[in-house]
C-alpha cells in the first residue's frame, strides 16, 4: 500500500532499455533475462556462525560483508547511510556495501534465484510483487528478528515497533517484510493560507462542499490529486469506504467474499467523490504526482490527498511561509468508523532466501529499527519511522500534524490488503479509481465493476488465494 513514487524525470535510457528488454520485445531479450535466472543451487550462508550474544543475536561473523540495497525515492537515502554508521559502531569489522536505486525490480529480481543482495528495500513503482516473492519462497521469514533484543532499548524488536507494523509485514502467519517508515495519508492544506483567508479546514464532506465555492471565488481549485497513478485516488476512495462502513466490510472485500462490494453504504461512501468530480471542484488536467503536488504548492488548489512523504519529496520547491498541514479524510454523518485514520507502516525491507549473509542482513535491520536510527530517519525525511517515538524530538509542522492525526484517531488503522494479494485486482482497482475520478464512472458503476473484477479473481484457479484476518 505504501508505495512512494519515484521522483519524476529520473527515467534513464539504460533502465528503460533494460525493462523493454525484460518485457520481451520479440522474445529475444526477455529470454536473455530468463536465462540469467535459471538453474541455480541454493547458496550456503557464509556470514554467520560466530558466537551469539545480546549484542550479536544472529551470530554475525567479523570480516564478513553485507550487501544492502536501498530504494532512493521520496524519502531519499541519506537516512540509510546514517544507519550504516550506527551498524558499524557495533560491528566495525563487518563491511556494509550499500547502494541505492529506484529500479528495485529491474535490478534485483533477476538475481533473486541465484546471487541476491542480502537486504533489499522493496519499494517504489518498480517493486517486486510481495505475494509472488512469498509464494515462490524467494524471501526469508524474519520471525527471529521480532524476538531478538532491540538495538538500544529495553525489550524485543517487536516491542519497539508502532502498532500495525508486525501485522503489515506478516503473510500466511509468518513475518516477512520489515517496514521501516510509518506513513499517514489524508488531505493536505496550507495552514498559513487558511488562516489568512479565515477558512477552517473541513472535517466532513458537508463542510468541504460549503467551503468549496469560497475557494473557487479566490480563483483556486478546491482539490487536486495525482491522476496518472491509479493507486493515489484509490487511497482516498478506500479511506471513504472504510470510514463509512467500517473494517469488516473492507476485510470482506480483501477476502473476495461473495457480494462484498455490494454491502450497504459503499456506494454512498463514494458518492461525495462522484459529486466532487461532477461539480468541477478538481483542478483541470490529468497531472501526475509531482505535477499535482507542485500545482498545490503553487496555490492552484487548496487540498491535495497524499501521504506523509510529501514534504520530503517536494522539499526543493516548497515556498517560504507555506505550512504543510495534514488533516484526516473527510467523513459524513452516520459513518461507522469516522475516527479511524489511514496510516500504515511501509517501505519494506526483505531478506532474500538465497542471500549469502542473512545474519548480517537481520542485524542491519536491527540497527535501522533502533532508537537512534529511527530518530535520524524522522529528522532527515520528515516522516515517522515505524519505531515508537521516532518523531518526538523533531520540530516540523508537517510531521507534527501527522503525529496529531494519529494520536487523535481511534487507534484502529485503515488498511487495504487486496492490492498486495492480487496483482489483477490491484491493476483493475487502479484503473477504475482513475475512471471514477475522471468522471467516466459513477459510484454505482465503480462498485459494480469492482465486484465483477473481484469475482473473476475469485474464480481463477491459477491465482493463489490469500486470507486477511486482522
Amino acid at each position: 500500500m505504501s508505495v512512494t513514487p519515484e521522483k519524476s524525470g529520473d527515467l534513464s535510457r539504460r533502465t528503460l532499455l533494460q525493462r523493454a528488454a525484460a518485457a520481451g520485445l520479440i522474445a529475444v531479450p526477455a529470454a536473455g533475462l530468463l536465462s540469467a535466472c535459471a538453474g541455480s543451487e541454493p547458496s550456503k550462508s557464509d556470514g554467520g556462525g560466530a558466537a551469539k550474544s545480546k549484542d550479536n543475536p544472529f551470530g554475525v561473523k567479523d570480516g564478513s560483508a553485507v550487501k544492502v540495497v536501498v530504494f532512493n525515492g521520496g524519502l531519499g537515502d541519506q537516512w540509510a547511510k546514517e544507519d550504516k554508521v550506527i551498524f558499524n559502531a557495533k560491528h566495525a569489522n563487518v563491511t556494509v556495501n550499500m547502494s541505492s536505486t529506484q529500479k528495485i525490480k529491474t535490478e534485483e529480481q533477476p538475481k533473486m534465484a541465484t546471487q541476491p543482495s542480502d537486504l533489499v528495500m522493496n519499494s517504489g513503482a518498480d517493486m517486486m510483487d510481495r505475494s509472488t516473492l512469498i509464494n515462490e519462497g524467494a524471501i526469508e521469514p524474519l520471525d527471529d528478528l521480532l524476538t531478538a533484543p532491540a538495538w538500544d532499548s529495553e525489550g524485543t524488536v517487536a516491542d519497539s515497533l508502532l502498532p500495525g507494523t508486525v501485522a503489515d509485514g506478516t503473510q500466511n502467519g509468518k513475518f516477512y517484510v520489515v517496514n521501516v517508515a510509518y506513513t499517514v495519508w489524508g488531505n493536505w492544506y496550507n495552514a498559513a493560507l487558511f488562516k489568512k483567508e479565515g477558512w477552517t479546514a473541513p472535517t466532513t464532506w458537508d463542510e468541504f462542499f460549503a467551503l468549496a465555492p469560497k475557494i473557487k471565488a479566490k480563483g483556486m481549485a478546491p482539490y487536486v490529486h495525482d491522476a496518472a497513478h491509479g493507486y493515489y485516488p484509490r487511497w482516498a476512495l478506500f479511506a471513504s469506504i472504510w470510514k463509512a462502513v467500517g473494517k469488516q466490510a473492507v476485510v470482506d472485500i480483501d477476502n473476495l467474499k461473495d457480494g462484498a462490494w455490494k454491502a450497504d453504504g459503499i456506494v454512498a461512501a463514494l458518492e461525495p467523490w462522484e459529486k466532487l468530480v461532477k461539480d468541477k471542484l478538481l483542478l483541470p488536467g490529468k497531472l501526475d504526482h509531482t505535477q499535482s503536488q507542485q500545482a498545490w504548492l503553487d496555490g492552484k488548489a487548496a487540498f491535495i490527498q497524499v501521504g506523509t512523504w510529501l514534504k520530503n519529496e517536494m522539499a526543493a520547491t516548497i515556498p517560504p511561509g507555506f505550512e504543510l498541514t495534514l488533516s484526516d479524510y473527510w467523513s459524513k454523518p452516520g459513518d461507522k468508523a469516522a475516527k479511524d485514520v489511514f496510516a500504515a507502516s511501509g517501505e519494506g525491507f526483505v531478506v532474500p532466501s538465497k542471500a549469502p549473509n542473512k545474519e548480517a542482513a537481520k542485524e542491519f535491520l536491527r540497527a535501522i529499527l533502533s532508537k537512534a536510527g529511527s530518530a535520524k530517519f524522522a529528522e532527515l525525511t520528515k516522516s515517522l519511522a515505524s519505531t515508537k517515538g521516532s518523531g518526538d524530538n523533531v520540530q516540523d509542522t508537517a510531521l507534527a500534524s501527522a503525529n496529531n492525526l494519529v494520536k487523535g484517531g481511534s487507534g484502529e488503522l485503515i488498511s487495504v490488503k487486496f492490492p498486495d494479494f492480487y496483482a489483477d485486482l490491484d491493476k483493475e482497482s487502479q484503473n477504475l479509481s482513475e475512471e471514477l475520478m475522471a468522471g467516466r464512472l459513477t459510484a454505482q458503476q465503480f462498485v459494480d465493476k469492482m465486484q465483477v473484477a473481484a469475482d473473476k479473481v475469485a474464480k481463477d484457479s491459477s491465482i493463489k488465494k490469500q486470507t486477511r484476518t486482522a
Partner: protein, 313 residues
C-alpha cells in the same frame, strides 16, 4: 575452397557464431521452454504444463485488446511514416525547380534534411520525456498552453492527450496521440533512406519524363515510387517491427502503463504485467513466443507479397 582459406574463415566466424548461439539462439529456445511451464520468475521451481499457457492466451480478454491495438499500429505506423518520409524525400530531392544543372530539391533542402533527421538521433526515452511536456494536460503543456492562450481550448477543459480513452474513428484517442509521436520520430530516418534511394535513380529518367510533359504528380507516382519499391518494402517490414513493439512510448506516456483503463494496452505491456507484476513468467513467455511467431510470419508474408523483379539501372 583451399584448405588454408577455410581455416581462416572458420577462425574468424567461430567466436561470433558461438556468442550468437549462446546469447540469442539459446535464450530463444529457453523462452520457448519456459512458455510450457508455470514458472513464477523468482525461484527455480517450475512445473511442466504443456500447452496450457497457449490455450489460456486465446481466451484472455486483455490480450485480445492488446492484439487489436498492435494491429492498429501495424497498419498506421508504416502507412503514415512512409507516406510522410516519401513526401519529404521527394521534396528534398526532386521537388524543386530545374535548371541547367538538372533537377534538384527545394531551396535549403540540406538544412531541412538535418532537421528532419534530428528525432532519429534522440533515444526513444528522451523523445517520450520531451513529449510528456508537449502533451502536458494543463495550461503548462506546450500544446495546451498555446491553444488556451489563443482561445481554442477551454482552460477548464484542456486536452487530455494520452489520458484520453474516448474513441476517435473507433480507436481510443490515446493511441492516436502515441501514433503522432511514433510517426514524428520515425519519418526522418526513412526520409534519409528514401533520399539515398532516390539519388541512385538516374536524373535523366526524370528529365525524360519532364520532357514528355509529366508534372510533379506523375513523376512521383509513375517514376519515383515504382523505382523505390525495394526500399519501401524493407521500410515497411522494419516499421512493422516497431509497431509491434511501441513499449517505450506506452510505458512512459500513458497512465498506469497501458491505461487509462486498458485503452493503450499492447502485447509488450501485457507481457510486462504478467511477468513482473503478476509473477507468471511462464505465461508471459507464451505471449512473447506467440508474438515472435506472429512477427516472423508477418515479415515473411510482407517480403513475399512485395517481391518482384529488380530493375537495374
Amino acid at each position: 575452397m583451399r584448405h588454408g582459406v577455410a581455416r581462416f574463415v572458420t577462425g574468424f566466424l567461430a567466436l561470433p557464431v558461438a556468442l550468437y548461439l549462446f546469447y540469442v539462439v539459446w535464450p530463444f529456445a529457453q523462452a520457448a521452454g519456459y512458455s510450457l511451464t508455470d514458472w513464477g520468475g523468482y525461484s527455480d521451481s517450475q512445473n511442466f504444463v504443456g500447452l496450457d499457457n497457449y490455450v489460456r492466451l486465446f481466451s484472455d480478454e486483455l490480450i485480445r485488446k492488446a492484439f487489436w491495438h498492435n494491429v492498429f499500429f501495424l497498419v498506421t505506423v508504416p502507412l503514415f511514416t512512409i507516406a510522410l518520409a516519401l513526401f519529404l524525400a521527394f521534396l528534398l530531392n526532386v521537388g524543386g525547380r530545374e535548371d541547367r544543372a538538372g533537377i534538384r530539391g527545394v531551396f535549403g533542402s540540406g538544412i531541412y534534411k538535418v532537421i528532419f533527421f534530428f528525432p532519429q538521433v534522440l533515444s526513444l526515452v528522451v523523445i517520450a520525456v520531451m513529449w510528456q511536456q508537449i502533451y502536458r494536460t494543463d495550461g503548462q503543456g506546450l500544446i495546451n498552453g498555446l491553444l488556451i492562450k489563443i482561445g481554442l481550448v477551454d482552460a477548464d477543459n484542456p486536452i487530455a492527450f494520452t489520458a484520453d480513452p474516448e474513441p476517435f474513428l473507433g480507436v481510443p484517442a490515446v493511441l492516436w496521440w502515441l501514433l503522432l509521436i511514433a510517426v514524428w520520430s520515425g519519418a526522418g530516418f526513412y526520409m534519409v533512406l528514401f533520399s539515398a534511394a532516390m539519388q541512385s535513380i538516374p536524373k535523366d529518367i526524370y528529365e525524360a519524363a519532364i520532357l514528355d510533359g509529366a508534372g510533379r504528380f506523375h513523376t512521383f507516382f509513375r517514376v519515383t515510387l515504382p523505382l523505390l519499391r525495394d526500399s519501401i518494402s524493407v521500410a515497411w517490414v522494419y516499421l512493422g517491427f516497431i509497431a509491434l513493439d511501441m513499449y517505450a512510448l506506452v510505458f512512459v506516456m500513458t497512465p498506469s502503463q497501458g491505461g487509462p483503463n486498458h485503452a493503450s494496452e499492447i502485447f509488450a505491456s501485457v507481457i510486462q504485467f504478467n511477468a513482473f507484476q503478476k509473477g507468471q513468467f511462464g505465461y508471459a513467455c507464451a505471449i512473447a513466443v506467440a508474438l515472435a511467431i506472429f512477427t516472423i510470419l508477418l515479415a515473411a508474408l510482407q517480403l513475399r507479397i512485395t517481391r518482384r523483379e529488380r530493375i537495374e539501372f
